[in-house]
Symmetry: C2
Subunit: 277 residues, 2 copies
């Protein structure tokens, strides 16, 4: 733990101007650093395989973290100094920054998974983060990104996901929608979630050996090519006159239902013996 | 349609300083006006039984609405005039304001319902609005408010609910948790949603004649008195190590599952013949 009170200290550069800095690796000057905010998310970062570069926080929040085994400096500053470095008042009181690890390939995720989410065109960072939070809670083994998705490691997605984007494995398909063939070759049923009235109700599905839930963006939904590349279209039964749920909420309902429809479910998803289905 | 360009025009007073005005009827000076923002939500307000007082919008957005049968003035202004009246730039471009109608009593909602949500301590306006949106989509007949909930008609709740707070009937229990007796007397099973490991999994529940889902706030959850007043504690089966879903997301999963467990379901909730369960 290192006290810092000089806002120009170059050791704090990773934390500077967070509201405007664009750290995406695919943008000019972007370094792709991963930012975690608040003790819960920073704690999940510390438990993850992401290489932590540094922490910055007020003394009380830094003190709430388990820093044993953390090989990175923890800078302690006043709330005012933090606000001037970061560019806004941070009421969560602690930040950590990490490099991106090498991500698994889509094939690696598919090999070890029984139920995955596949996203197309999900650009909204809050929806993306919420989908990862819901995936973690409901036992989804990995998230595969098709065309047009935002970066799950963008700061706001990390925050909204409650840090679960750092735990749920994800990968981007090299080809879209042809990458879906990798799923089908390994025995996955690809179920596209859509509000279309002619889709099969989620409630009436049978069991699956392995299943992929294909989710489109709120608004336009899945593209015709993605729908055509899926094995079946499924819908959440909706009350009359209501167009649709938020995409992350719809994802949660589908995750819940489909994770319960895995044949010979081993209890991993279902919470064990108390779940007879 | 009446053009207005004087920002001090008293006919626009209902729309003034929305970011700071507190319109709650239980606060000094609060008139309890209901504010709808954007064409979708304003459209739902116009279709509701709420007595509309006036609309204010830019010409293009006002033009997108069906104003036939609307007995209230529609003021058309420039985006700049609107921003100066409202107090911020409103990118949804149209507002409507309504009085509160007389709300049904808890007993009236219960009499006509088969599945209801009961909330305790849900103060966050976004969570409250999302719960109403999810309730509308998933066929919940009404929402009953126990102790400690915010006002569902607060501006942000109305917006986040996509206007469904204006459609899904709601009422506040006069007594808490004793009001729950009204549900039990009418044959409802009261299922309290909790992350507790000793609760029954949602998946293993049988059918119900009538069911009430009891939901607490994110964080503290249901109070011991509310849990004690319920008939059973139910949980969403969660993957290991993940504490919980957002309360509105958890509500959606519970609504989906419980609305499908109504015995002799008549298709109203389930989307008709395509849903055999």
């Amino acid at each position: 733990m290192i006290s810092v009170d000089d806002v120009t200290d170059s050791r704090l550069d990773d934390f500077r101007d967070l509201a405007t800095a664009d750290r995406r690796p695919d943008r000019p000057g972007g370094r792709g650093l991963v930012i975690a905010e608040g003790t819960v998310v920073v704690g999940r970062l510390l438990e993850s395989r992401y290489p932590v570069r540094a922490l910055l926080g007020v003394e009380r929040r830094i003190g709430e973290l388990d820093l044993s085994g953390v090989d990175a400096p923890a800078y302690v500053a006043s709330a005012d100094t933090m606000a001037r470095v970061v560019g806004f008042h941070l009421n969560r009181g602690v930040l950590a920054v990490a490099d991106r690890p090498v991500q698994p390939t889509a094939g690696e995720i598919i090999d070890g998974a029984r139920v995955v989410a596949v996203l197309e065109g999900v650009q909204d960072h809050e929806n993306l983060g919420s989908i990862f939070r819901n995936a973690a809670a409901l036992g989804i083994d990995g998230v595969l990104l098709g065309a047009g998705c935002s970066d799950p490691l963008y700061r706001r997605s990390v925050r909204v996901s409650m840090g679960h984007v750092l735990r749920v494995p994800f990968a981007t398909f090299d080809e879209w929608p042809n990458g879906l063939d990798q799923l089908r070759e390994r025995g996955f049923t690809i179920a596209a979630l859509t509000p279309r009235a002619d889709a099969v109700s989620l409630r009436s599905l049978g069991d699956f050996e392995r299943v992929a839930v294909l989710l489109g963006s709120e608004g336009p939904g899945l593209t015709p090519v993605a729908l055509a590349a899926s094995d079946l279209a499924v819908r959440i039964p909706m009350a009359g006159g209501v167009d649709s749920l938020n995409v992350a909420t719809a994802a949660a309902v589908a995750f819940y239902e489909l994770a319960g429809k895995l044949s010979s479910a081993d209890g991993r998803y279902l919470g064990g013996a108390a779940d007879p289905r």
